[in-house]
Amino acid sequence: MKDLKHLYEFENLLQEANNALVQEAKAQGKLALGYTCYHVPEVLLNCPGCFSVRLRAPRTGSLDIATYYMSNFLCGYSKALLERAIEGGYNFLDALLGSETCSEMNRALEHFELLHLVDNPNFFVSFMDVPFKIEPHTVKHYVKQAKDKIIHPLSEKYNVDFSDEALLKAVAEHNEVCRLMTEIGSYRKEENPRITGYEYHVLNLITYCCPKSLILDKLRETAEELKTREPDEKKNYRAKIVVVGSEMDDPEFTKLIEESGALVVADRFCFGSIPGREEIHIDPNEDILTQICKHYMVTSQCPRYMSHEKVQERRDTVRRLVKEYHADGVLYEQIKFCEYWGYERALASHIMNDEYGVPSASVDRQYTASSSGQLRTRVQAFVESLEIKKIAKAREANVHAQG
């Protein structure tokens, strides 16, 4: 396939948290607001005068110092962020908005405060509490937390405007990004998709890590370019898979999967687009902030929700994605020591196989996994088993047709 015009530029932007577009927005006087979790409503961090940056630690090396402050048995993502902060990689931030959704990440973010890791006198860290259930009173609590932990501190410290007009403006921009990503993502449902999982992963990460106003033009252009893009006649994959799991901001992981013979057609992981790139529908007759908060609670697929309906919904979603995106199987991935996905992966990968008849494999991985030869072997073996099952199914269908 012909290379996407902006792909190389996007890949370069992902090499640093403080990338060229972040620097450009900062130079325009905008506030850089860091966050790490879906439960911190991204759209609130994109009100006029601000932009959100979902934190990554690209090109992570040794995690020794973070391990000293935390421990060996905590997730590599939280440690990588702490290590990068200690290295001075997030000095561009004006605030860091955390959520009490994951104790490991909480510990990492606490260290931003305790060790005064961001060299900015106005910098602050705030944590919001997120309920475990979706009930009218918990939504109310979540909205109050958004006010107390995001809106008030940002208004008081930086005079950020969170009026209804400002919120609607942020929602409109967010929705345009989502519309474009949904349009681009829909090509992954094609029989021979015109976009690879790696390309989509890069594009989607850009929407999380760069100021939206500065990428919209390029996203629009990419969506336009894809309308006429011709996929290679000879398919470059042997099976299509849905990737499901914990935090994953390393497109090299998707590349590794695709180099092993699979095409990633749906991304149901943290930092992915399902959920993440759904439009927020606002009813003008209802409270805007409540609707925004509710959107994040309802769409979340995080295994921190342990109620029966949410557990079942997560499994049904994966099964639906397999069908919708014509996938041959599911790869459950979990960053090592992720508490929530540890349970989810162990159970759901078996349920997919044994109860839903959806072939699945599961892997645990380090924060950066691209160089792992063993991981490559595991993914390749899974792809081979999917391919063989496909051949056997076709053979069976042929026998039935003949006889």
């Binding site: 792992s372 030869g373 063993q374 991981l375 072997t377 595991r378 073996a381 081979e384 063989i388 056997a392």
Partner: protein, 266 residues
């Protein structure tokens, strides 16, 4: 006559098998791997080809498949297949009754369950460290100042087992040196090492869904002490293969090459 090759470039040994079109093994080679996988594969292929009068170079093979960690570095290979699939196929053609494998290679341990057609039903892999792998055994044999074959038989004479707590290769080596220093019987320490590895294999086998009729493949399959320890923890008899278990990956690759090559030729 057409010939088909499988080349398994492992982290410690490179194996090569050539089959004729009837599936008969006409050449088999096991060499210590070089640092360069291309070189390892080339030497193993040359050695195997030298065993077949009709063949003069790897180009004469009708179909060649690479497997093992260096699978994509095998010169002239038509394609590569993961060692997990190849071990399953290799065991299946050797003994179709076997339903599960514990493959202990140089740098990982795998549990594999096999479907009725020789394909992989399920697998589990210990790939985070060298604990319980061929590298681990090399370190242990070094600590005992023995060769690997000597060390593999040492535990057979043990009347008791001294448990080894460390699984990490580096820490286990220190623990073994301390135990030897304390004057503990060497064979009982060795039995403890075998038991520790067998327990790790137990986990992999169970994770892969192995229930009965299991065999060992990879270089460590020749370790008699380990085989006995595995039988003890799994409470089933390990099936002995009629072909060298270290060759199973290469044999599986060659069998896949035979099937694909014959299908291609129509």
């Amino acid at each position: 006559m057409k010939y088909f090759g499988g080349c398994d470039v492992g982290s410690t040994y490179t194996k090569c098998v050539i089959l004729d079109e009837n599936g008969k093994m006409v050449a088999a080679v096991t060499n210590r791997s070089k640092i360069n996988p291309v070189q390892s594969a080339q030497i193993a292929l040359d050695d195997a080809i030298a065993q077949v009068d009709d063949l003069h170079s790897a180009k004469d093979l009708s179909y060649l498949i690479g497997t093992g960690y260096g699978r994509n570095k095998v010169p002239f290979a038509e394609e590569n297949i993961s060692e997990i699939s190849c071990h399953a196929m290799g065991v299946h053609v050797t003994n179709p009754e076997v339903k599960a494998i514990i493959d202990i290679g140089g740098q990982d341990v795998k549990g594999i369950s096999i479907d009725t057609d020789g394909t992989v039903k399920n697998f589990a892999m210990n790939d985070k460290c060298a604990a319980g792998t061929g590298r681990f055994y090399e370190a242990m044999a070094n600590a005992f100042e023995m060769s690997l074959p000597e060390f593999s038989k040492l535990s057979l004479s043990a009347k008791n087992t001294i448990p080894i707590t460390a699984q990490c290769t580096v820490f286990a080596e220190s623990e073994v040196i301390s135990l030897v220093g304390e004057g503990k019987p060497m064979d009982e320490i060795a039995a403890g090492i075998q038991l520790a590895v067998a327990k790790r294999c137990f986990v992999m086998a169970k994770k892969a869904g192995a229930t009965d009729s299991i065999t060992l493949t990879g270089g460590c399959a020749k370790n008699e002490g380990l085989k006995q320890a595995i039988e003890k923890v799994l409470k089933i008899k390990v099936v002995e293969l009629s072909t060298d278990p270290q060759l199973m990956g290469a044999l599986g690759a060659a069998e896949y090459a035979r099937q694909k090559g014959m299908a291609k030729a129509g």
